[in-house]
């Protein structure tokens, strides 16, 4: 974005903030930190200072802007309609230009643009991970054996292992059905490909079950969210452009099953590609993007859903509920599954505290935010917490391990796939 237009856009947004402080009542970080430098209006004030020259783009300022989950609660809550999300992203970009990003981040983001290299790296990682990681006591994941410089990995933190077989290993590039209703292209994103391939496979199963052809193009890369939310817009644009080209085939729908990938494809690409030719491609593409729960509520056949006698609750991932406006859809699907005992939790749409790289930089804080979520989830008495975002899943699973809870976590797609499988079996069984 040109600097001048950037400034114009800042100005237009900044002037709308009347410092009413409604953001204080919704910001999960503020509620823990109790400090005006974490509120949206505080940051707006800082950006006005930057425009006036009173405040400089110092590393201290950069740190203040990093301490934000990008959960969009302030955007939704703002009575004056200030687009704090885009504002703070562009502030991160300005900060990153001035102070540059840590070397580890820069290398990682660069690596994202070379898919083959990234892929090879993670494959080696999946074999070598036991050197630096050990299995956690409860077997839910891995913990670092020692402090790994620059990794942002707290020794307490339990993360899932990199899968031995990626989604691409276990699902063919194209799965076809007889007499397809439509053609879907599936954008799995990094986490479903490398960490939770089973959830990715569930997405393909759901689409096939409803008579849709599914393609997972070879040359898809990371959606770019980690890069552009850190202020590295150049890498973000590069990745977005590559993905748009790869997704430009003759498809009826673009399916995502990751909140951040979906929100990036549907909305954020529009922002970061504003000055690019390929913006036209994005305009067309964005109308086709559907989260898998959205797909099922729109095109799925409820009659195929078999009974699933589980007690579940649901966590609304920020980038689903506020990024893609998806929150009713999964609940509609749950209501369609026979015998499924769905229990809404209090504050279901409040951030779980993961916030991408936020949870690495501020592990303690993100744990405290996560604890409120888990307390609300446990209060429902559910056995399973279902969510549509792998990053939330990872953070919530870690939290459950830390508090030795028996609750289990499942991706929305896995739950729906299970219901379909039961449907098939129950039909066979003559039920």
């Amino acid at each position: 974005m040109s600097e001048q237009r950037g400034h114009e856009e800042w100005k237009q947004q900044l002037v709308k903030c009347i410092r009413c402080g409604t953001c204080r009542s919704v910001c999960p970080v503020f509620k823990e930190e109790n400090n005006e430098n974490t509120t949206a209006r505080g940051k707006v004030q800082l950006l006005e200072g930057v425009m006036e020259g009173t405040i400089k783009l110092t590393p201290t300022l950069q740190e203040r802007f990093n301490k934000c989950l990008l959960c969009k609660a302030c955007v939704k809550g703002c009575p004056s309609g200030v687009r704090t999300d885009t504002l703070f992203l562009s502030a991160r970009q300005a900060n990153a230009c001035e102070n540059s990003l840590p070397l580890v981040k820069r290398l990682a983001f660069k690596g994202l643009t070379f898919r083959k290299l990234f892929d090879t790296g993670l494959r080696i990682g999946s074999v070598m991970q036991h050197v630096v990681m050990k299995k956690s006591a409860d077997g839910r994941g891995n913990q670092a054996r020692f402090n790994i410089p620059g990794s942002g990995l707290d020794l307490r933190r339990i993360i899932p292992p990199v899968a031995a077989n990626t989604l691409r290993d276990i699902v063919p590039k194209k799965t076809t059905v007889a007499n397809p209703i439509g053609r879907a292209v599936f954008f799995p994103g990094c986490m479903l490909n490398y960490i939770y391939p089973e959830a990715g496979k569930a997405v393909v199963n759901i689409l096939n079950k409803n008579n849709w052809d599914v393609t997972i193009p070879d040359d898809l890369v990371c959606c770019g969210t980690p890069a552009f939310t850190s202020g590295d817009q150049a890498t973000g644009r590069e990745l977005a452009t590559a993905n748009l080209k790869s997704l430009s085939g003759d498809y009826d729908v673009v399916i995502t099953a990751c909140a951040s990938c979906g929100a990036a494809l549907k909305h954020e690409y529009g922002e970061i590609l504003q000055d690019e030719h390929i913006h036209h491609n994005w305009e067309e593409l964005s109308t086709k993007v559907l989260d898998i729960s959205e797909f099922v509520s729109k095109y799925g056949n409820p009659a195929l859903l078999g009974s699933l006698p589980l007690k579940i609750t649901y966590h609304d991932a920020c980038h689903l509920v506020r990024g893609m406006n998806v929150s009713k859809q999964p609940r509609q699907v749950f209501a369609d599954v026979p015998e499924l005992d769905f229990r809404n939790m209090k504050d279901a749409d409040v951030c779980c505290g993961a916030g991408g790289t936020f949870s690495m930089a501020y592990y303690d804080l993100s744990r405290r935010i996560n604890d409120h979520k888990l307390t609300n989830a446990e209060a429902t008495g559910a056995d399973y917490l279902v969510t549509g975002c792998s990053a939330c899943r990872m953070h919530i699973t870690d939290g459950l391990s830390q508090r030795k809870s028996n609750m289990k976590v499942m991706h929305t797609a896995e739950l729906i796939d299970l219901a379909y499988q039961n449907g098939t079996q129950q039909k066979k069984g003559g039920k």
Partner: protein
Amino acid sequence: MNQAVLNELKAIVGEAHMLTELEDRYCYSFDSTFINSMPDLVLQPSSRDEIAAICRIAHAHDIPIVTRGAATGLSGGAVPVKGGIVLEMTRLTNIIEINKVNRYAIVEPGIITQDYLAAVDKAGLFYPPDPASSKMSTLGGNIAECAGGPRGVKYGITRDYVLGLEVVLPDGSIVQTGNLVDGDMSGPDWTMLFCGSEGTLGIITKIMLKLTHKPQSKQTMMATFDRIEDAATTVSTMMSSGVIPTTLEIMDNLTIRAVENFLNIGLPVEAGAILLIEVDGDPKAVEKHVQHVLKVCEECNASSVKVAKTAQEADDLWKARRSVSPACGKINPTKISEDATVPRSRIPEMVSAVQAIAKKYDLKMVIFGHAGDGNLHPNILSNKHDKEEMARVEKAVEELFQAALKLGGTLSGEHGIGYMKAPFLVWETGVEGFQFGKDVKYAVDPKSLMNPGKLFDYRPSPS
């Protein structure tokens, strides 16, 4: 501030709760007005004793202290116009006691109003003051600014519920005012002295509040008028006719259009004004009051009155009122919210005056206030970057104040005087009244360290 003093202060609150970085202090330079001034230091104490210790140091070294709750005030009360320490009270959030038998609560001042309301509700009791900012504001701030709210028509404002206070004085000594029995201590009413004192006399560290019973039922209505004058007459007629609604909110034509444009819920865009009316009490009385309200509205030429049949319908009616702010934000970004207030009987005259002033200065001015309180909340929709327009806004605000005072009203229904209205305070108090206010201020705070430059400590700049 020298390093030795900083070290002493740090020893009191701890390093994590003393903010000195420019980037942090800058975030404490504002409230919900648009004036800015940066503190030298932000301190976040956790107890009365820490606050007393801070006051002793500040007193010894002549450092100003500006007490701050959630900084949602609309008169500049929490802006440190003379620098010094911003004392953030939001770590003092305990509810010490909610007593059901004697119907009182003892709380710390940093608790968020809404959290307190929820706790009181859970205990089966009711605390009526409900400022629009209750989701963010603190009770300490509500008392210091003497906040009101839509329910004020029937139940009164914050000051009507304060039984007593614990206050740290500028030199660090601690006094208690009032009592839990009836709030009435021997001698003058010191509690009232601190209520609405805007942090200029001392720091409130504990609050004793009166509670009441929850109303059993309520009914919400919306009356539409072709002419705003008729709506205004309805308010004054209603208030003199014996039935006091809980809430009487007015929205003028410009507001209706803005909200309809924003929500598309079928509001009457041709109407001159609408009134949102709520009555509460025991179910039989509510039924009678509804009939009475309908009768008064009809007599005053209401073109229609809608009575909500379900809770959902009532909520829909309120939705229009709640959406006024964002709707107006679409028209112009800067909303200057005034709260010059007049006696209820003078509302029709005040409406005409507001309209005339808007016309005279060619400004977009909307009325959507607590009409039942005489508080019309004229809001000027402007753009703070438009210097020429802001100059007109300033003049219009002055004239609004004059108009309200001429009608026997006040500069502030609920926002306080703070910094923004301090230059005009003498118009309301008179020269002698202003001097009396000053004398009281300096008797309590001779060094003028408590929120200097505000209320009676205002000194016109030499220019």
